[in-house]
Symmetry: D2
Subunit: 239 residues, 4 copies
């Protein structure tokens, strides 16, 4: 079974189409009978018609242009830039009143699984009679600028909210192979439980971007997350 | 906060009291104001009265004697031997009609957490539209005879039952430091999620044995698991 | 700097040209101005002239044909099939009297590094006053048939020869992402030293195959290893 | 064979005798027929005679007192405090003109092995024709104040000196079980080689401290390292 077997023909726009993630999305879209109707490159945007949905895989510097385009053309947005500032995330919420928006700082299904596992652990350890401590470590290649990653910060925030106690450390390493590792370790007396999500191929993220795009075009305006996308996909009768 | 702060004085019997795990249980019991009223050694059982509960941390060769003692003296049993044969596990169920029995092939809290996480992952992946594969790897020092471990086999069985599909491999390594590693890896396209439970100190298991013993003496006859012990502990108002 | 910058135009033959490794070698050869003059596929060999060197990346079932071809046409051979039987390895030695042969059950540079590190550790621990134990673990995807891998067996054999004492265990796991992991762990009292070689992209092996081919065409008849290739490359003035 | 079988009766002084490492050294010394003639505690030093050698396992705040004592009493020093300032390390060199001094920011044999392996890798990669990058990651429990650890900084410095190029990152995580992990990763195109040293029991360091003390009392004045201790031990006929 092809992972994309449920993707119906779709006209997408990809901002950052020449970048590491964007070029994977373009390649995967072509393999799955999607049309890339808009390619946002650093110098210019090349368009052959209005797309059904925009996937933003560029940098936060393109954010204003992306927002303006989606607002004016009423095009839904999968926002995959992970380094947005808090004000920019608020602007996403505003856009979500007009069109569908998926805020997706991490697109991969593995991250969805890791987040679900984190919830299980945090709920079990909340008010537990035994002592525990939690640390988070993330690794990305040297070209990644922000540290720690948005994904690591989100894992730490969820852990704190759900377990009732903050993590001891959120550490970042810059080096190694593409793409990324995120590791959460719970330490008890004389034992540890570690949950590690490793991505070695950007196709994992590109596949999530297309799933989000496909899902979003059927939804009313609103601000959504990848959890909404993946939970909804799971609930389909033909799952 | 001491991890054993809720342990009220208890009279325990420890079978295999001279072994790796048994001697840790005896030591931890003493530190927590429990009396060790019976010590089962290879040559003889030394007793200073009938204990409130027996913890069996010996080998399957002692099983018949342990069963006979608990049955005749009506003493509840925490059965921690991991290499029991299927018939022996049936005998535990029979004993459970007369007294309380916890069948505990793995005593540690970390294993409880790993098992709960496995359930979360298996349920998310059941009928998932994406491809996946699951493998289990366990490591114990060279003196461990059976391979793979009872814990690894149980993880594999639960995975198969709950996800609807069996694991690809259950591999065992014999070597390295005490005590054990159990690692479950879910592989998706271009990414993995790994859940690893590492024990470095046998106190993790000894602590579980005492918690099970303390819990069991308040329960009616029945066959219980460590999940019952840990879930119940969590539900206590002062948990 | 391109890793292949020193590759001069070369006419290669690739046996198993349609397989996982073979197709990577063909692709990398094209990117580096090599001509693929012979493609050995399962059904037939397609040739456009005699190559300067053959790279065998197929199965042991093709071995007789490969050997016969190299012998008759006097073409040097990079033999990358890892599952050869002892008699087949002897036949390689015989061929090595007529033409250059690199026996390369593992082509990657990382394996060369891991092997060198193993020698350092084994020599330090030979006759050491402290106790130690060594284990080897390897992982390959589920389609890998032989277990443990030829590389793991070679690491174990070298460890035994150089340290004076055999390894405790050589374990294999089948599952996970392409390509492979090989992990050697030395356990001391209360501490471990682990050396892990992970390959995530078959290009690592393909690159080694081309380096071996390039090197081999300048050498007299003989039976060589990848150590010869990599050590020699290091000694070049412009290395 | 006991790892300490070669230790002849020795009168040692332990500064920081009540600390995590110091108390392990005291315990191990007793098990090996050494006399602890001086115990340096936070409040006072308790002495029953001048020791043959001092092991300093305290904090840098005690450094002046330790130095003065060794100088006045002409007692050799194993200096195991890892957070010394550069000026303090210079003072060690000065003391080394009068008595034997082992500067031992890391006492364990596993660190000695890891350092030797690092040299092997750095020499192989110096001027290598392939691209590479090196990162170092260390982990210590939350109570460790300085980050990164002295050991990680030393590994990075040696790597830079011996390979001709600096490491990309030296990252630190604070959390997890005692005692420590130090991990060096070399990344090549599509593959990695990782060398990890994990310590789970402070006895590994305590054992190194006693070996250094035993070795030092036979040596002339000078400033030595743990490499000197371990290399020399290896060269003994009955090594």
């Amino acid at each position: 079974m092809s992972p994309m077997s449920w993707v119906s023909p779709l006209r997408i726009g990809v901002i950052g189409a020449g970048g590491r993630l964007g070029s994977e999305i373009v390649a995967l879209a072509s393999e799955n009978n999607c049309t890339v109707a808009l390619r946002g490159l650093r110098q210019e945007w090349i368009t052959s018609g209005t797309p059904d949905v925009i996937i933003d895989a560029s940098h936060d510097t393109a954010f204003e242009s992306v927002l303006a385009y989606c607002c004016e053309e009423s095009v839904p947005l999968v926002e995959a830039v992970s380094s947005l500032a808090p004000e920019q995330i608020e602007q996403l919420a505003t856009l979500g009143r007009a069109v569908g928006v998926v805020h997706a700082p991490n697109l991969s299904y593995g991250n969805h699984l890791q987040h679900a596992v984190l919830l299980t652990l945090a709920h079990l350890l909340r008010d537990a009679s035994c002592g525990w401590e939690c640390t988070i470590m993330e690794r990305h290649p040297t070209f990644k600028r922000d540290r720690p990653s948005a994904t690591a910060r989100r894992l730490a925030r969820t852990w704190s909210d759900e377990s009732g106690r903050g993590v001891s450390d959120v550490a970042a390493v810059r080096g190694g192979l593409p793409v990324s590792d995120h590791e959460l370790t719970v330490t008890l007396a004389g034992e540890t439980v570690t949950v590690k999500h490793s991505v070695t191929d950007r196709r994992a993220a590109a596949s999530g971007a297309l799933k989000a795009a496909q899902w979003l075009v059927t939804k009313p305006p609103g601000l959504y997350t990848m959890t909404d996308v993946y939970v909804s996909e799971k609930e389909k009768p033909n799952g």
